[in-house]
């Protein structure tokens, strides 16, 4: 969920940057990215050794998860205010 939240906000990122933002190691991040990609929720582009991950805009699963994130964040903001 945290990976999707980050990518939902910034569009696309490489593995190291996702790991840095989540405060977890590279291997764990790669493993979760692979799971999300296998589910077609994410997709990636390769530029040499660099992989840029982004949310698969055509995936109904990705859309459902992003909707959930949006509603969740709205509710959190309302509670704070």
């Amino acid at each position: 969920m945290r990976i999707l939240k980050v990518l939902g906000h910034v569009g696309e990122l490489n593995v190291s940057e996702i790991a840095r933002r989540l405060g977890v190691n590279y291997e764990t991040t790669s493993k979760h990215l692979k799971i999300l990609e296998d589910e077609s929720i994410l997709q990636h582009k390769e530029f040499g050794r660099i992989r840029l991950y982004r949310i698969n805009e055509h995936s109904p699963k990705a859309k459902a998860v992003l909707d959930l994130v949006r509603v969740w964040e709205q509710a959190e903001t309302e509670v704070k205010t």
């Binding site: 569009g11 696309e12 490489n14 190291s16 940057e17 530029f47 040499g48 660099i50 840029l52």
Partner: protein
């Protein structure tokens, strides 16, 4: 609280980054640039082009390139062509090819990692991105000299011969290299030079009249109606002309003069506002220069300063200056010197750039000498001269 008045209608039109819709006296160069790149609207994949734009500071190189980029983008958009104009100031990136390419990548992928690859890899990545996005790019390398100085021939060669290592692939990347002086190119080796020097657009320095046109163009979009008198525009054009025809300097001066007019709550930007503006950005007068003048030279200059003090005049005749000098002599209880002597003083003051002279042929009695006080605010000059004269340093 007093009501705020401003001579400006839209001061952003005087910002250094503003690119006007029309570039006075650069129509021909803009058409030439369009002509060099016209293939992009017809067969973008078949060609890539390299163009050099050269010219002194303030001759409109950046504005020309950016105006072209905007016009070309609009035209390509209308025709459904996927085209991007990317403008990079090489100096901002310390002339580093790596950082420049990184900027290009960031245009398409803003979060692309900043480390972990070489300039060569980055160059391949740029081309991969252009292929994937099916986009044709003109990369304008402003201050190209800083890249030449830092990277030398190899990097420039890589960039200019990029297409040759991409056999049977669409030509994606054209270049506009913007630099002041072509001599910089001589630092490159012969083969690199030959890849660059085929299309050169050299921008000549603007003449005073051309600067007047440019300034009038900006006045009409940036200032309220009648807020900037002709005399002020002429004076600023004169100053910009003396700075190697630097239009950017003139536009900046125009903006600053407007600020001085606002501070003094004036409805118009007077020539005196322009003089204050220039004295704030150029170290124009040293007190020691004035102290070195002879006693009568100081009195003559004092008379001239008083003539301009009211702020409405941009120039005065020698005969007006002579009358003002006579009054100053009366004040200091000395006999005025002859006309011939004043003429010599005037030449000496002009030689030290304290005043500027020009010959006018528009008067009713043939040629007459006009005196301008281009750089020093008249009230400041009067105060300095009075101080020196009263201390008896004359």
């Amino acid at each position: 609280m007093s009501h705020y008045r401003s001579v400006f209608r839209d001061e952003t039109k005087l910002d250094i980054n503003y690119v006007p819709h029309r570039l006075p006296h650069r129509d021909r160069e803009l058409r030439l640039l369009m002509e060099f790149f016209s293939f992009l609207l017809q067969f973008p994949e078949r060609m890539a082009q390299r163009v050099l734009i050269t010219g002194d500071v303030g001759t409109g190189k950046t504005a020309l390139s950016q105006r072209f980029g905007a016009d070309m983008s609009r035209e390509a958009g209308k025709q459904g062509k996927n085209f991007r104009y990317v403008h990079v100031n090489c100096r901002e990136y310390h002339g580093s090819l790596f950082l420049i390419l990184q900027h290009v990548v960031s245009v398409f992928h803003p979060n692309f990692p900043q480390r972990g690859y070489s300039a060569e890899e980055l160059l391949r990545i740029v081309m991969q991105i252009l292929d994937e996005e099916n986009v044709y790019v003109i990369l304008a390398l402003d201050e190209f000299g800083s890249m030449v100085e830092r990277e030398g021939s190899d990097a420039v060669y890589q960039l200019t011969r990029l297409q040759e290592v991409r056999q049977n692939k669409p030509q994606r990347l054209s270049l506009i290299c913007i630099l002041r002086n072509l001599n910089l190119i001589s630092k490159l080796d012969a083969s690199t030079r030959s890849t660059l020097q085929s299309n050169i657009i050299n921008l000549e320095r603007y003449s005073k009249q051309q600067l007047v046109d440019i300034l009038n163009d900006r006045v009409s979009s940036a200032f309220k109606l009648s807020a900037v008198p002709e005399d002020t525009v002429n004076l600023i054009a004169e100053l910009a002309s003396s700075e190697s025809g630097n239009a950017r300097f003139g536009i900046e001066l125009l903006w600053r003069a407007g600020k001085y007019a606002n501070v003094e709550d004036l409805d118009t930007v007077t020539p005196e506002c322009a003089r204050k503006a220039v004295s704030s950005i150029v170290p124009t007068m040293r007190k020691s220069d004035l102290a070195l003048l002879g006693f009568h030279e100081k009195l003559f200059l004092l008379g001239i300063a008083r003539l301009f003090k009211q702020g409405q005049k941009a120039s005065a005749t020698l005969s007006e200056a002579e009358q003002a000098y006579a009054i100053a002599c009366e004040e200091y209880d000395v006999k005025p010197n002859s006309h011939t002597q004043l003429w010599k003083y005037l030449k000496s003051l002009a030689a030290t750039d304290i005043v500027r002279t020009e010959v006018s042929t528009t008067g009713s009695r043939g040629r007459s000498t006009l005196i301008c006080l281009p750089r020093i605010p008249a009230h400041e000059l009067e105060r300095e001269l009075k101080d020196i004269l009263e201390k008896g340093e004359g």
